[in-house]
Structures are given as C-alpha cells and as structure tokens.
C-alpha cells in the first residue's frame, strides 16, 4: 500500500475509536489493538484508507475499537468479504481480524483459498485455542485431550498447526507472535503490512476466562528466554540466557545445541532466511514444540510474489488496451443484427 505522507502524522492513540473496549480485563486481545495502532502510526496510514474486516468471535469485535472503516461481519467469512473489498479498491489498507474458530473452523475454506490466491491482505489470527465468545468449546487448534465445555472427557481431534496449513496452502507470509510483547508484535505487523499478498500473523493469545494460561509455558517471564526463539531474517537462530543456545540442522531435522558445548560454534547455527522459496526450514521451524524445542516467533516466511488483486487489475488493463470493443454501445451493436422497419 502506498500512503501519501501527510504533514502531521497520527500517533498510535489517534487511531483509537470512541467506543468502549469490551474485552475482558486481562484479555490478550488488547495487546493486538495496541500493536496495530502503532503500526498504522508508523506506516502513516490515513484513517480513511484503512479497513478492518472481522468475522464473529471476541477477537472480531476489534473493528469497533479503531477509528478507521470497519466491518464486523458474519462468522467465518471476513477473508471472503475482504477479498471483494480489496479487489474493488487496492488502494485501501485492508486488515482481516479473525479467531481460531472464525478463520480455521467455519472459515477454513476461505483461509486456504485466500492464501493460494495471495490476496493482498493482513490477517490477524487470534489463536486462543478456544471458542471464546460462545463460552469455551474446543476449536481446531485446541490441544488433543483438553477438557473444554464441549469436551468434558477431553478432545479426540488432532489440532491444526496454523503455520503448516498456511504453507500447505501456498502461503507466502506467515509470522507468529505472543500477546505479551507488544513491541515485538508491532515489528512483525509492520513486516506483514509491507508484504504484498496475504500476510498471516498468528497471535498466541490468552483468553483469561476460558483458556487461561494456555500459552503460559511460552510467555511466562521465567521461561521466556528458553522457550522463545525470536527469528529475524539474516540472523542466527539463538535463544536462551545470553543467547547461549541455538538451532542446528542435523540431516533433515532440527536440534537444539549450546554454544561452546561439544564443539558447537556460531558456524553451526542456522541463519534464518525468511525470504527463501523453499518451505522446508519454515515448516521445521513452525513445527518445533516444547519441551524439546523453543517456540519459533517472528516472521517465519516472507516470500515475494504477485498479489491476486494486482494480477486482476493488470489483466483488466491489458484487456482494455486490446479491447475488441470501445464501449458497451459497440458491443451491443456487434455481431448479427437485423432491422425491423
């Protein structure tokens, strides 16, 4: 999106709406709202050029809280709606707000298709591994065996790993963030916004009410350094206290190593390449699970490609250049006509 710089840039809080924010106190959703406001400010997006389109769910109330155009639509369909909006007006900065239920349960089909088409949208995927708004049923990302309102004896479903689904659907941009670090989230959202095509940002979000501490092993202060691998393109994959631990490739698998131990040096440590077409390492990074591995956070994949809306308008432009007709009148009068007198 190209934004015309205006004289007096808006501050993050200028993007806030006059509506009272109605999420539960302590809900992870607040962090995303803050991060988004920062990015809009940083990107200097005029309020009227930004559009937030959401489905139904707690997270989908987002559009009310931001003073841009907004559409709080129906359950599961925001990507389809946003596709229409973006095609009509590629000048708009269109953000889609959705939950793990909204995007991956009822909205799963639009998710995979918007990805393969690579429509130029930013998708904020609030993953609290639960249906929040309907009071706590398991979702397609709920861990197998978990007890919820609709699984009193534990779920038997194997959950999606959203990043893997993104890559399996030809997705070009996938990032993962936690709701406990607004600054990092904002930096990732910035990259998402600057990527052309569908940028999926999965937010590991805490639902204090129905799935409290679901991401606690990843986000809690004590374990954070050991359990989070913050990825940056071109940087080695280091983590842990004093960045002493790192990720090494061993055959076709990843492993955790400690610098200085068993002869491990910086040369052994993988350097993150978010821009490579190859999905192999991206998939392996997405798949890293505690306790063996830290959780990969940041922009995992960010590959250049033309966006659907660009291609669509290019095709129209091309047809207009080689138009068989110059006007509807010409079309209407073309071919076999006959006169009645």
């Amino acid at each position: 999106m190209e934004n015309v710089a205006i004289n007096c840039p808006l501050k993050p809080k200028d993007y806030g709406s006059d509506q009272e924010v109605k999420w539960c106190p302590g809900c992870g959703d607040y962090a995303v709202l803050n991060a988004v406001q920062r990015v809009l400010s940083e990107e200097n997006v005029p309020k009227e050029k930004a559009v937030f389109i959401s489905g139904i769910g707690c997270s989908s109330r987002f559009p009310y809280y931001i003073d841009t155009y907004g559409f709080h639509s129906i359950h599961g369909r925001p990507l389809a709606i946003a596709t229409g909006t973006k095609i009509v007006n590629p000048e708009l900065n269109v953000w889609v707000v959705s939950g793990d239920g909204d995007a991956l349960a009822i909205g799963g089909n639009h998710f995979i298709h918007a990805l393969r088409r690579n429509v130029n949208l930013n998708l904020l995927l609030f993953n609290n591994q639960i249906y929040g708004l309907t009071k706590g049923q398991y979702s397609p990302t709920t861990k197998q065996g978990q007890v919820t309102k609709s699984s009193p004896h534990g779920t038997i479903d194997i959950p999606f790993e959203p990043g893997k689904l993104v890559l399996g659907s030809e997705g070009k941009f996938y990032a993962r963030v936690v709701d406990t670090d607004v600054k990092f989230m904002a930096s990732v959202l910035l990259a998402a916004n600057q990527h052309t095509g569908l940028s999926v940002v999965e937010v590991l979000q805490n639902c204090v009410i129905f799935n409290d501490k679901v991401h606690d092993l990843i986000t809690n202060k004590a374990a954070k350094q050991d359990h989070q691998l913050l990825l940056e393109h071109g940087k080695p994959m280091l983590f842990g206290q004093d960045n002493q631990k790192g990720i090494r490739l061993n055959g076709l698998e990843l492993e955790v190593v400690t610098l200085g131990q068993n002869g491990v040096t910086m040369d052994d440590i993988l350097v993150h390449d978010a821009h490579t077409e190859s999905a192999v390492l991206h998939n392996l990074l997405i798949d890293m699970k505690l306790p063996e591995f830290p959780i990969a956070l940041g922009v995992i994949r960010d590959v250049k490609a033309l966006a659907y809306d660009e291609l669509l308008h290019a095709q129209i432009a091309e047809q207009q250049e080689h138009a068989a007709f110059n006007s509807l009148d010409e079309l209407f009068a073309s071919g076999n006509t006959f006169e009645v007198k």
């Binding site: 509506q19 005029p46 309020k47 009227e48 050029k49 559009v51 389109i53 139904i56 559009p63 009310y64 003073d67 841009t68 155009y69 907004g70 559409f71 709080h72 639509s73 129906i74 369909r77 389809a80 709606i81 946003a82 596709t83 229409g84 909006t85 973006k86 095609i87 009509v88 007006n89 000048e91 708009l92 089909n109 639009h110 298709h113 669509l312 095709q315 129209i316 047809q319 207009q320 080689h322 138009a323 068989a324 007709f325 006007s327 509807l328 009148d329 079309l331 209407f332 009068a333 071919g335 076999n336 006509t337 006959f338 006169e339 009645v340 007198k341």
Partner: protein, 610 residues
C-alpha cells in the same frame, strides 16, 4: 414486450453425404411422431451423385420442424444445427439466427477439412461463432471409443457417429431412446454386433450430453409485433450480463461479480468474463458463500456488486443475504432457477425458488424480489435490479429461469445514452452531521459512504444497529424500530415502480396471472383465446416484492383469478397472504418443462365454462 411463443423447434442435421444425415433425420422424425408431435421435414441432398467429400457442395441436410401445434412448414432458420464437418457448418452459417445451438464434431476441423470447406481460419477458435450456443464435441473419437469393445473395423466404427450425434440431440429434447433402439434391434436382428454398435453410439452420445449438462436455447420466443429498430438475438443469460454492465455504466461505477459456477447460471459468468475491457471485475470464488461475501465486500467498497447462482447455491447464500439486509448495502443476487429440490433436475426449468427468495432467511429479513419474463427482457430486469439495489440501498433478488437463461429472442439493441441514470445515495454535504445508520425520510435509506472517504470512518455489521449512530444496540425499542425501518424501506420501493398492467381491458370473467418466465407462453394462450372472443385477461408479475400498488385493484375487476406457475403454487400462496379477499385458483406444473399453449387453453376453457 408483446410476443408469442413457438412451442416447436427446428433442427437441421447437416453433414457429408456419407454421414448418414437422412437416417438420423428420419429416426428423429419417427420419435417425434411417436410422441404425438406435429412435424414437417425437409431433406435436401447434394444434387451430384457423388459430390466431392468435405466440400460445401457435398453437404447433405435434413431439416425437421416439430412441435405440439402450429407446425405448418419445415421452418426457417434452425434452432439447433448439427454440423458434422466444416463444410456443413459453412453451408448453413448464413442462414442461422444468432443464439441458436450448434453441435459440431471437433474431430473434423483439421486444416485440410477447413480448407476444403473454404474456411481461412478455424471458426471454432475465433470469435465468429460467439453469438451462438456452440457445443463442440469430439464426436468421431468418442464414437470410436464407444464401440471399441465390439472390435469393428475403423470405417464401420466411424460410421456410427451419426448415432452418437442423434443421442446428443435426443438428450437436448428429452426424447426417449427406446424407439430407436427397437428400430436397430429389429433392423439388425441378424447382425447383433451392428445393432449393438449403433445403440452403443446412440447411448454414448446421450450420456455425453447429459454428463456435460448440455442445454440448448430450444424454446424460442419470437416477437409478434416488433417496434422498428435494430435487433439482435440474445439468450437470457447474455441479456442479464449485458443489463448488469449497462446498469453499472449508468450508475457510474464499476461492476463486480463474485460467483461460483452452477448450471444454468454459469453462462452469465462466461459472458461477463469476456468483457474485462469494460472494467468488470470477476472473482470466481471457492464456493457460493465466498461468491456472495466477496460481493458484499465489493459493495461496501463502492462497486455495483452482483452474485449469480441457481437454487442449491442460493441456499448457501442465505446467511450472507441476511448480512446484506442488516448492513443495508446494495447487492444484486441472480438466481437462474432450475428443477428442485436439492440437486434435483439441474438442466430443467422450474419456478420453485420463489419461496426461498421471499422467505428463506433467519429473522425478519425483507428484501426486493424481481423476476424476468423473457430472454430479452432479462436485460431490463437486470438493469432494474441494480437500479433498485442502489437507489434503495437494499439487496435485490432477481429470479430468472433455466428456460429464460438458455432461451433466446430478438432483443432491440439499446443505446447506453437512452437508459435512465442510476443515482447512488452518496454523501455530498455535511460530514459532521451525518451518521452511518441515519435514514432518509422518503425512501428510508442510509447513505452509501465507502472506505477511502475522509472523515466518515464508520463500522457496519451483522449485529443489530442503533438507528442513527450504527453502534451495536441491544435496546428492545431500537430493535423494533430497525425491524420496522428495514421492512418499510422495502415496502416503499412500491412507490418508485410502475403500476401493474394487464391485457384484456374489457374482460371480466377470468384473469390469468403469471410471474416471471412463463409470460410468453401464457400470453400466447390467452391471446389465442381472446382472438376466439373469450372473456379472459392476462397479467404477468415482474415486481414480486413489493407488489405494484394497484395490484388489488387489478384483481378486483375479475370474477375468477387463476395463477399459473411451474411450482406447487408458491406465488398463489403469496398472493393469498397479501390479498386474502380474493380467491386464487391454481394451475401448476412441476415437470421440469414449460407450460404448453394447448394445456393452458384447455384449462382456461374449463374455467371459463364453470
């Protein structure tokens, strides 16, 4: 709009002298006679005994005109042309009316064949046949495959291709195969492998047409008294596409189509997608839900947004239609109806999705319903659907029918300049006092304010909205108020449409009521009775919801009213709900087929005599 219907069709079989056209011509004739049709045929052979193969001179033809009544000649231009090779196509091309169906054997369009027939380039590849309903089938090769199991030599195998073709034509006209099968079994009782070969090919052709859901514009509606002007044959689906384009032009906005293919609506997509030069944005979605949702997103962004489908696809769109109602956005939803319920009879015509259009949503969810009545006037009703959607900020369902979508008729070429301007309710003035869900007092519409406009950021959505501000509201009084506004907004459309007209000003006894696409046939039947001096009148509805304001007045002029429709009485029930003071008799048919003039006349005569 005045037109009559020919319940008959003209088929021309054309091929090389050796292609067996006369045989399939007479087999078709026999089957038609068996079914009680009137027929008239015209076989024409090349005059030379052995005309050069593959040339125009060598073309052998057989034309048959058949129908339930009024068949007095072998007919003029064919409705369906079968061309077994390029020469046969060449020979008949000048005589065709546009939008007729052409079946060609793609296997015979090699370079040599084209040259022999005198074609410079392959007509199947260029734009030359764009006006026709072209069915290109690899007839020769499929015929060979269909008889492969019998181990015939190549020549004998290929010879069966006329039967494959006949099978396809049988499918198009719902003819039974049995008489022809019986014929071969009798004829080749001594050579069962030959009988089998012909029957195999016949069945294979029939199944092929069924498999690809082949349809034809076989029912042709001809204008009885045309206004002077330039005309062009159009199918209903083409006319719908063009009407949409014209309306977008007159609304000074781009057209957006979000859709998923489904018979018999897909041709609207096929037509529109050819015209990207006009700026139309086409989104072939992953399913019907994404189709309509993308259109809603497009409408939100300010385009003239359309989604097209047929019954089962319509079912999938109903949740999103509710969203369009709630957000008070313009949207046109075209349903080219087919036989139901469920997957039903995908290639057959029916008017049984009316209830779904009127009532098929959760909650109190009113919208405008229109219906087209002839292939050509699909243009006008598509245009009107866009006009109402935009000027009244509401979704509009436009009901077409398989019979219209695939049917064709001469359409008087319109010029864009002569069409009315469509005025979108944009916000021109005071942004400060504007509110997103503030409703104008006359039409009760809100303004269409689209993203990109500075200073008017707002949010819309599917939860109940506070009148004015558009904030989410759980307030009981507000809900009642908004339900009333949405209802009244649609009701008031009646103030912006013409009155209902009817034909038969002097009649008193019987009013025939139709809606949508049976117009031509009903008019034909009533006209004939009127000519016979019967006390009968006719009115056909295009504005289904709301109804024209003078509807009750029209009904009140008659002793009896009979509502004729291709369903189980859905419009009649709807009229009863609205006008319980009248008795609506019903004449319904649910056979996947249009009415016939004779059955209608019989019924009307009975009613007139009662």
């Amino acid at each position: 709009m005045e037109s009559v219907v020919i319940e008959k069709a003209v088929i021309k079989f054309a091929g090389d002298s050796g292609d067996g056209m006369q045989l399939i011509g007479s087999l078709f004739t026999n089957t038609a006679v068996n079914r009680g049709n009137q027929i008239a045929t015209f076989p024409d052979f090349p005059s030379e005994i052995r005309a050069p193969q593959g040339t125009v001179a060598g073309v052998s033809g057989f034309q048959i005109h058949f129908g339930s009544s009024g068949v007095h000649s072998p007919g003029d231009a064919p409705d369906v042309l079968v061309a077994m090779n390029p020469a046969a196509l060449k020979a008949n091309l000048s005589k065709l009316k546009s939008a007729c169906t052409i079946i060609v054997d793609a296997d015979t369009f090699g370079k040599r064949d084209l040259e022999k027939a005198g074609f410079d380039s392959n007509p199947l590849e260029g734009n030359e046949l764009a006006d026709y309903n072209l069915i290109t089938a690899p007839i020769t090769s499929m015929t060979k495959l269909s008889v492969a199991e019998l181990g015939l030599d190549n020549k004998s195998a290929v010879r069966c291709k006329n039967m494959f073709t006949l099978g396809m034509v049988y499918w198009l006209f719902s003819n039974p195969l049995e008489p022809t099968i019986d014929f071969f079994n009798a004829k080749f009782s001594k050579k069962p492998e030959l009988a089998k070969a012909n029957i195999n090919a016949l069945q294979a052709g029939y199944n092929y047409a069924l498999t690809i859901e082949a349809v034809t514009s076989s029912y042709t509606v001809l204008p009885a008294s045309k206004k002077p002007g330039i005309y062009k044959n159009l199918t209903g689906n083409q006319a719908t596409a063009w009407g949409l384009m014209a309306a977008a032009k007159k609304a000074n906005r781009d057209l957006f189509l979000g859709t998923y293919p489904i018979t018999p609506a897909t041709d609207i997509l096929h037509e529109l997608t050819k015209h990207k030069w006009s700026g139309v944005k086409i989104f072939q979605a992953e399913d019907e839900i994404a189709g309509i949702c993308s259109a809603i997103g497009a409408s939100f962004a300010g385009d003239v947004a359309v989604t097209t489908t047929s019954g089962p696809g319509m079912a999938l769109k109903t949740e999103a239609i509710g969203l369009a109602v709630m957000t008070e956005l313009p949207l046109v939803i075209v349903n080219v109806q087919r036989g139901g319920p469920s997957t039903g009879l995908p290639t057959k015509t029916e008017q049984s999705d009316l209830n779904q259009a009127l009532y098929g949503r959760n909650g109190e969810c009113p919208l405008v319903v229109l219906a087209a009545s002839t292939p050509g006037d699909c243009f006008q009703w598509a245009f009107e659907a866009v006009r109402i959607a935009i000027e009244h900020m509401t979704p509009v369902i436009l009901l077409s029918e398989s019979y219209l979508g695939n049917g064709a008729e001469p359409w008087q070429v319109k010029s864009i300049q002569d069409l009315p301007v469509i005025e979108a309710p944009v916000l021109n003035g005071d942004k400060d006092n504007w509110q997103p869900y503030e409703h104008a007092t006359d039409k009760l519409i809100r303004k269409w304010v689209v993203p990109g406009m500075q200073g008017t950021q707002h949010r819309i959505g599917g939860l109940e909205k506070e009148e004015g501000s558009g904030a989410v509201s759980h307030d009981p009084e507000n809900h009642q108020k908004m339900v009333n506004i949405r209802k009244e907004k649609v009701a008031r459309v009646a103030n912006y449409i013409p009155e209902q007209r009817y034909k038969g000003k002097d009649a008193k006894k019987l009013l025939v009521v139709g809606w949508g696409g049976q117009f031509g046939i009903l008019l034909g039947a009533v006209s004939e009775l009127q000519e016979e001096g019967k006390d009968i009148a006719f009115t056909n509805f295009n504005y289904i919801h709301p109804l024209p304001t003078n509807t009750a007045e029209v009904f009140s002029k008659f002793d009896r009213i009979v509502v004729c429709e291709l369903n189980d009485g859905q419009f009649a029930s709807y009229l009863t709900t609205n006008f319980p003071q009248f008795t609506f008799e019903r004449y319904n048919k649910i056979k996947g087929q249009p009415f016939t003039i004779s059955e209608l006349k019989n019924r009307f005569n009975e009613l007139l005599e009662k």
